[in-house]
């Protein structure tokens, strides 16, 4: 299924966050050894209003090549974790670090560059219906300033890796599983070092879910730091996956 796995290894992942936009953030490719966490939560607290904190003293790390599955019931704080990593939310206390930088403290341009360098696969694929799958997958590369031709090349390569074909079809013509894989291609088109996956199997049948999880495991093997949230703890994972659970605001192994 992971047709372009070798491509992932031959092309260094680039979480370079604004390196080409004059940001002070440093490239993430080389300085981080396999064991160096790319994502680090250090005693993070996050509350919304007067309600009890969703996260309280939450700490965990995800290193390069790791596949971490974070589970918990609805409202446990899984999406909050992802939003803290992408800088849409800021922690009340503690520190969220992505490649040595704290997203919530980055200026807008650097934060956008960081988000472009993190692959995000949402629960729903959010493919735009008015353009082909290929054009959907090209979007992150175009947003990164690549020419249409270069973006198309990257998109075709990403689509090949996830096994969706050439991407000439419209999203409505794809099955749910293929749409999710196309969204995964969009998430990896900029060759990120970090892949955030939000309950990817929620809308898929068992076979499609297994395919997708297999793909994610292969991406982790290829060197990406994969953090996946899931509703249930019974989601079948590959042997290299690490399970974490959110319980009463804390993250436990």
């Amino acid at each position: 299924m992971l047709a372009g796995n070798e491509n992932l290894e031959s092309r260094p992942p680039r979480l370079r966050r604004g390196a080409d936009r004059g940001s002070t953030t440093k490239p993430m490719t080389e300085p981080h050894a396999a064991s160096t966490p790319l994502i680090e939560f250090d005693r993070v607290r996050k509350a919304f209003g007067a309600a009890p904190p969703v996260l309280n003293e939450a700490s965990f790390t995800v290193a390069r090549g790791q596949f971490v599955a974070l589970s918990g019931p609805n409202g446990a704080g899984k999406s909050t974790v992802l939003r803290l990593i992408t800088g849409w939310l800021a922690p009340d206390e503690g520190r969220v670090t992505v490649a040595g930088e704290q997203p919530a403290r980055l200026p807008d341009a650097a934060l956008s560059a960081l988000r472009r360098a993190i692959g995000i696969l949402p629960q729903e694929p959010h493919l735009l219906a008015d353009r082909s799958v290929l054009e959907n997958v090209m979007l992150p590369a175009l947003a990164d300033g690549l020419s249409r031709k270069a973006a198309a090349e990257l998109a075709r390569s990403a689509l090949q890796r996830v096994g969706v074909g050439d991407g000439e079809a419209m999203p409505a013509q794809l099955s749910a599983g293929a749409r999710q894989r196309a969204a995964l291609a969009r998430a990896i088109v900029n060759r990120p070092a970090v892949l955030l996956v939000d309950e990817p199997t929620a809308l898929l049948d068992a076979a499609a879910a297994a395919d997708l999880l297999h793909l994610l495991a292969q991406f982790a093997q290829a060197g990406l730091a994969v953090l996946m949230t899931s509703h249930g703890e019974r989601t079948p994972l590959a042997a290299n996956a690490r399970r974490l659970r959110i319980a009463e605001g804390r993250i436990v192994g």
Binding site: S112, A113, R116, L128, L142, G145, L146, S147
Partner: protein, 298 residues
């Protein structure tokens, strides 16, 4: 290269936006055109009638009636002296004989010119600057009245006051129309942007998901705003041209009955090009600000 690539992408997305709601875009262009047409027509008429307005005696006049015994040399000296005074635009001498002849012609009374003694005085008509305020006119009148050889002086400030009032009212009306047009244009662009943002909510959501920066998201909407007002101005220029073409012959006919020449014409092409560019810039700016504002709220 990168700058070109993101702009090329923005242009493609602009085309996509327009294809998505062509009717709304056309309506916005027509509303923009309607808002532009009134001030553009006003500006064209004002420019066409500039020569006519320049012929009007805009400056207030003070008539100095000189003593009967004043010699020609003295009158010329006085005329020259007055012409050098600050605030004086022009000094015209109406000789008593010429005045009598003109009066006779106007009244058709040939007997007046044949009388032995001309009862009319020599008159110096002092035209002040058009910018003179009523207090300045009064002060000048009092001062000129005291000059030697001046028997009496009278100011014809009424016409000046009326004209100034008329011009002020015209300027106020112009400002009001311009302000209303500008407000309407801003509303048209903002409403158009809001509509496009609503229909493009998923597109914006995906762009944010993939980390597109604000400028990347905003650019197609800004281009759409620029196109809306730019095209609106083009349509307004066309409407103005058509309107002036129709109105020019009767307007010229009317002006001729007052002994004046009036040729209603649209603004020169390079002015119109500048106005189209300015309108596009305004549209782009308003759309960009509106989109940024909407994104910040969402």
């Amino acid at each position: 290269m990168k700058a070109l690539a993101v702009r090329a992408h923005a242009l493609r997305e602009t085309a996509r936006l327009l294809r998505r709601r062509p009717g709304s875009f056309l309506l916005a262009v027509l509303l923009g055109a309607a808002a532009f047409t009134v001030p553009l027509t006003g500006a064209s008429i004002a420019r066409s009638s500039a020569t006519l307005v320049q012929q009007l005696p805009l400056g207030p006049e003070i008539n100095l009636f000189l003593a009967a015994s004043t010699s020609t040399t003295e009158i010329r000296q006085l005329q020259s002296q007055l012409a050098g005074r600050p605030g004086v635009a022009q000094v015209e001498w109406i000789a008593r004989d010429a005045a009598l002849k003109a009066l006779a012609e106007r009244t058709g009374s040939s007997g007046l010119a044949g009388q032995g003694a001309n009862p009319l005085p020599d008159v110096l008509v002092v035209t002040l600057s058009p910018q003179a305020e009523p207090t300045e006119i009064e002060a000048a009148l009092a001062e000129l009245r005291r000059l030697p050889r001046v028997d009496s002086a009278a100011a014809d400030a009424r016409w000046h006051r009326q004209l100034r009032g008329l011009l002020r009212a015209a300027a106020m009306a112009g400002t009001l129309v311009g302000g209303l047009a500008a407000a309407l244009l801003v509303l048209v662009v903002l409403a158009s942007v809001q509509l496009q943002l609503t229909t493009s909510a998923e597109y914006v959501r995906v762009l944010r998901l993939v980390g597109a920066d604000t400028r990347f998201v905003v650019r197609p909407f800004a281009y759409t705003g620029a196109l809306t007002l730019g095209l609106g101005m083009v349509v307004a220029a066309g409407l103005t041209w058509a309107g002036l073409t129709v109105a020019a012959p009767p307007a010229a006919e009317l002006a001729r009955t007052y002994g004046a020449e009036l040729d209603l014409r649209p603004l020169p092409p390079h002015w119109q090009a500048a106005l189209v560019a300015g309108a596009a810039l305004l549209g782009g700016l308003v759309a960009a600000l509106g989109t940024r504002w909407a994104l910040r709220r969402s």
